[in-house]
Amino acid sequence: MQNGAKIEYDYSVAKAFTFATILFGIIGMVIGVVLAFQLAFPELNYLAGEYGTFSRLRPLHTNGVAFGFTLSGIFATWYYVGQRVLKVSLKESPFLMGVAKLHFALYFITILLAVVTLFMGITTSKEYAELEWPLDLLVVVWWVLWGVSIFGLIGIRRERTLYISVWYYIASFLAVAMLYLFNNMAVPTALVSGYGSILHSVSMYAGTNDALVQWWYGHNAVGFIFTVPIIAMIYYFLPKESAQNVYSYKLSILAFWGLLFVYLWAGGHHLIYSTVPDWMQTMGSVMSIVLILPSWGSAINMLLTMKGEWNQLQTNPLIKFMILASTFYMLSTIEGPIQSIKSVNAIAHFTDWIPGHVHDGVLGWVVFMIMAALFHMAPRMYGREIYSKSLMETQFWLQTTAIVLYFTSMWIAGITQGMMWRAYDEYGSLVYSFIDTVTVLQPYYTIRAVGGLMYLIGFLMFAYNMYKTATAGRVLDKEPVNASPMAA
């Protein structure tokens, strides 16, 4: 290709992952809403025999949303952003194109197999690492393919300097590779003994060690799937959509290296008051507080990018999505450290405040940012105007209200439960039996379920808007430079 000629980016893989993002988003969130209603109305456990109980569905929900929806979104944006910031098209390398397509195919098959095996109750029981060893091996294969795609595209790039977003994609790839490999170390029992199910394995680590490795992984899966790649997205899509430069380059650097260094220590906060050594609990607690700095560093960098341009919030709902995402990132990254303080953790741990925290982060930050990214990509990928601005506005307010209902109800529920568990009367006996602390939460579970349902409806509006954009949006004669065009 001649220098100066326009590069023809290839979006076929980005489109495939966009489809997967929406599909798994709907599946994962429908299951989430069912779970929420099951807690409020337990009779709903009996809709599908042993396959419909809360306990069977719960890992399906977390896996569906984390690895079905979020990872798809990460890959979709990578296959879009990667080409653009490296100034190279996938088309130029048949090899990398093949890698990308195989990556998608194997990934998609794995998630479908994950759904089937989890429904059957085939699980290792480690949170966010429930898949059994044959599926783990499959995950490793397509994760490596993603790595080949990242470093392959970097290898043939025309842009010499790696843009910030690429740093974050690289970090996500490397960290998850390390974490996943170590945490999923297991011995397949049928291969050693010659007996039993071929799918079964036993963890390499026992008891306290297993817990330590698991939460080193578990917390950092949050770090390197729900945080780092999403920051990669906002660093690309917010400046692009708003036509503003990133506020501070230095702050980007500090926040990046700070986040990578500190995040890995914070996993210990899942194990406060457990049997892991005290100094690790303390490190987990302290480092979680330190983590506020790099987290807020990125978020403030994003907010300040909009300095003097806040009027765009009124004219462009996509900016609104991204700014709200940044704000929820700040909320979630101040809430997490607060929960890591030992005395707070003593009340918060094991209660509904924890799912509350996870969900204000995921619903407000991760899902909002991914939806905004896909909305921005749609006109460029499909060459069409976004189908409906008013639908996007409605969706925005519906989902924002939904998140507020979700996390406020869970905050109240969690703290109520934590306080009731430890309440003593004047004679030094426990005031409440355990069941008292369950039944009191019924109203909050109902509010949460309603919030979840509203959020799901908003997501369906998003899916419909994307579908109409791809098929019925007004055709654009040239690619929009910044603000995405949308019909009223």
């Binding site: 337990p42 470093f151 390390m178 011995v187 026992a206 008891g207 817990a211 990578l260 049997t275 003593y424």
Partner: protein, 227 residues
């Protein structure tokens, strides 16, 4: 420095990896051996108990129940002695959980009986009015997979030296026998008979009499072993 790194993806990636791996090396490795020493009296699970543990995992009981008692008066009053690291030496995987929608179960064997568990799994509301736990009636009909539990016990004995077929406390007798698959199967059935004798569900009793072990029997064996 960063300008230099930004243009050299290889060194950039190496730098990222080192920064990321650092915490794990410092935090995880030093205490590994110490944490895995069993407390005196801790024994590996029998085959039937291990089978029940698999049922517990299969139905993700750990999604709602913890197995970790924190060192607070409110918890020791409610559940019993707080947890010690060495008690978990044979727990692969650990099952501490992260959310208590139901109570902790680490010492449930001390204060619940076979009869209670049977009623509870059949209809939770019959013993705990207001319970939001689903009933697990399918545990009364599904036949448990004892063979996979045997495979696991065999594997941990071979690979991790878990003390099956060993005199752990030095009183001259083997504490938890494993033996061949045939022996293990026979022993599991024997244990199952003792539990089924305390149960009232006739189809479960019949199944055990036929030589089959329904999931509920194994699960109760596991629950009763948590002390």
């Amino acid at each position: 420095m960063f300008h230099w790194l930004e243009q050299r993806p290889f060194f950039f990636a190496v730098a990222v990896f080192l920064v990321v791996a650092f915490a794990g090396i410092i935090e995880i490795i030093p205490d590994f051996a110490k944490q895995s020493k069993p407390v005196v009296g801790t024994k590996p699970y029998t085959i039937l108990e291990l089978t029940g543990r698999h049922v517990y995992i299969k139905d993700s009981c750990n999604a709602c129940h913890s197995q970790l008692i924190r060192p607070f008066k409110s918890e020791t009053d409610r559940y019993g002695m707080y947890s010690l690291s060495g008690e978990y030496a044979y727990d692969r995987p650990f099952l501490w959980g992260s959310k208590r929608t139901g109570p902790d179960l680490w010492r449930v064997g001390n204060y619940r009986t076979t009869d209670w568990h049977e009623n509870h799994m059949w209809d939770p509301k019959s013993v705990v009015p207001g319970s939001i736990m689903p009933a697990y009636k399918h545990h009364f009909t599904n036949i448990a997979d004892v063979e996979t539990a045997y495979a696991e016990a065999y594997t941990v004995k071979a690979v991790f030296n878990t003390p099956y077929d060993v005199d752990i406390n030095g009183d001259g007798s083997v504490d938890v026998p494993l033996g061949t698959w045939e022996e293990a199967k026979a022993r599991a059935l024997e244990e199952a008979r003792a539990i089924a004798a305390d149960m009232k569900n006739q189809s479960v009793k019949d199944a055990v009499a036929r030589g089959e072990i329904p999931e509920i029997v194994a699960l109760i064996a596991y629950m009763n072993s948590l002390k």
